[in-house]
Symmetry: C2
């Protein structure tokens, strides 16, 4: 083994991002790694020399098992885009000086497509300057919007939480003797993967949602109201799943049709909220029907008490495969998942060039969105195996136990 | 056994209201009941002759076990307040005619304080007219605002869901390297019991929430902003729990300070939303800090995937005790819970006169709300046993299984 390992987490957290961290740490140790460092708050923290030695923290098998069940990024995260190499060589010089000082041979970064940009730039710089450090990306995002990989770790658990709570919300909506209309807002800026998971609620014991709207297809407010009017004539309760990011034909976000406070994050993404609220108010205003809005909100990415065992295992595996590949000399790559069989479901890891993943956004194919405002059976079939099985929380004193950093 | 049994569910659903239904049904059957009917949509449905025979539905032990795990009211609910007897004798004549026709000897109603009003009126009418039918109330409400009973079935599971998700939200908020302020809105119109459950998040592995605001104490927006300003100087993330129903000193709801759509339900209660959103916007507007609002929303009353076993068992027991008491000749009573020991926690059922419970709202005692905008240790100690232990969902195809009515 040539040098130490350092691993960081970046971007929005998921319920299973720490399982990938566990996979990196455990596999590195099992394969004889010397020191395994963790960057605190990703590359941004590293620039301020913030890191921990993970062996000090993950020193029992219980700690590792708790880590797998702890939501949000154990090491802290950042939303920090590295400057272009040509624009700020001093940033790169500083990073590599710190890495050399820590005798790092292997640099792993767990994140989404913004974070893969970091791996791309660092490995480019290493190539350019002849550094021997290996750089590997470990995919995570609840949004499932990474290219090449069959799906992303983090998506399955978020999808399971969405489908499970949707079943509960549907049951809740059926309670009264008058129809209620419930509009549930699900995360997804440009890709509708998470929202389409609402379709999995439909089963022998559940009526399912009535309508599903993804950002991939233009949203027509008038048509929507008309559809609700027709459905409401059946006299039953209606549940609608909408992506926060649905847009009208002229490219305007539906939530922008309402008045509200807006701001932009470090990557230039608009922060949004209020799509469901806007639609529920519209239904009440135009049709005079009782409508409520529910935002599943942050729980989608942090409800570690309802994770998919399939997802936890795959998250662990992509972490383990990344450090294995780095030890074998790979660099500038991302571990991806390849579905080798659909039934029975089987998935293996492969390597992809980071340049093919960084900054690319994979959307739901239009043929998987049906004309009756729902999703195709193929899409349901695609998501179905990803929500299977559970990893029971370790309950202490009535509540799920997590691993605390300090 | 003199006659058949009929049972109904009323008011807002909880995660465990069906466990009380299971307790009524199973205990009635075990004690030799002939027919057990279920009113569809409570007393309102019964007036339209909507009912089912429960033995047809709950005909396997598996069905009963699924029923205990099914959120929301299995039989459907209503928000219908019976008219005063003197104002509408024909309504009562109609109800009693239907009951006589079905040869009902025992009438059980599972609900909150609005629903107990129904039991009170029906038992008053029975007394007045010499009817032998026994009327018993079975308490439920996530709000925990019923008088006399130590606590209400439904509260413990909602409290557990709130504490568990609060831990996850706190962990999520700590992720970034800049402080975020999260305002979490929790159900509770006039009573702050549910919001105070946020205090249970604090434990060895969790920092807990920073501030808790209940409707029992006037809320001062300026003081709140000042408090946030001071806390934000520590540079760490802040999580605040607020009741949806917090009010200013002049009795105005905080959410009324913002512009929004408002309407009133059948009991004259204002429908509210937007307290957390209003406060988060205020923080951003006045202090320029990043603040987000999360409404735990409907999930608080329907997240059957995260229930308290203590709560499920007690919900079952109050149902069973109610039918037992009715068989023994009691009427016009409600089953209440009495805590006979705190450590170890033990609770038994007793009977209380329905007149002492109907339409009375139990609030959090002011001495349990501390001057530093938090709750007293005594309050935490009171809630703590109610969230203990779990009833694992029966997972089928990756999702919690429920019992469907049809």
């Amino acid at each position: 083994m040539n040098g130490n390992v350092i691993v960081g987490q970046s971007g929005g957290p998921t319920s299973v991002i720490n399982s990938s961290l566990a996979g990196v740490f455990k596999t590195a140790k099992d394969r004889g790694a010397n020191k395994v460092y963790g960057m605190i708050h990703g590359i941004k923290g590293l620039l301020d020399r913030q890191y921990v030695e993970l062996s000090d923290k993950l020193n029992t098998t219980m700690a590792i098992d708790l880590l797998k069940r702890t939501p949000s990024s154990y090491l802290g995260s950042c939303r920090y885009k590295l400057p272009e190499i040509a624009d700020s060589r001093e940033t790169y010089e500083k990073i590599f000086a710190i890495l050399d000082e820590l005798e790092i041979g292997y640099f792993l970064y767990i994140g989404g497509n913004d974070s893969m940009d970091t791996i791309k730039k660092l490995s480019d710089y290493a190539k350019e300057t002849g550094s021997a450090i290996k750089f590997m990306g470990v995919p995570k995002t609840i949004d499932n919007d990474l290219a090449i990989t069959d799906h992303t770790p983090g998506f399955g658990s978020a999808a399971k939480f969405i489908a499970a709570t949707m079943k509960e919300i549907i049951r809740d909506g059926l309670v009264y003797d008058y129809p209620t209309i419930t509009v549930v807002e699900i995360m997804g800026r440009n890709a509708g993967w998470l929202t389409s998971a609402a379709a999995l609620a439909k089963s022998d014991d559940c009526e399912g949602v009535d309508l599903i709207y993804l950002p991939e297809k233009p949203f027509d407010v008038e048509k929507f109201i008309k559809k609700i009017r027709n459905l409401s004539k059946t006299g039953r309760s209606i549940v609608v799943a909408v992506s926060e990011g649905i847009k009208t034909a002229d490219g305007k976000f539906v939530f922008e049709l309402a008045e509200h406070v807006e701001f932009v994050d470090a990557f230039g993404h608009k922060q949004m909220s209020g799509t469901a609220k806007f639609l529920a108010n519209k239904i009440t205003a135009v049709l005079g029907l009782k409508a409520r809005a529910i935002e599943l909100s942050t729980l989608q990415r942090c409800a570690a008490h309802m994770t998919s065992r399939t997802d936890i295992t795959e998250a662990y595996n992509v972490g383990g495969a990344a450090i294995k590949a780095a030890f074998e000399g790979e660099t500038g790559k991302v571990v991806v998942l390849k579905r080798v069989s659909d039934d029975p479901y089987m998935c293996i890891t492969e390597l992809a060039d980071v340049g093919k993943i960084a900054n690319v956004e994979k959307k739901v194919p239009l043929e998987w969105i049906t004309d009756d405002d729902y999703v195709a059976q193929d899409l349901i079939h695609y998501i179905h195996p990803l929500i299977q099985a559970e990893l029971s929380p370790i309950m202490v004193d009535g509540l799920p136990r997590h691993l605390k950093v300090n």
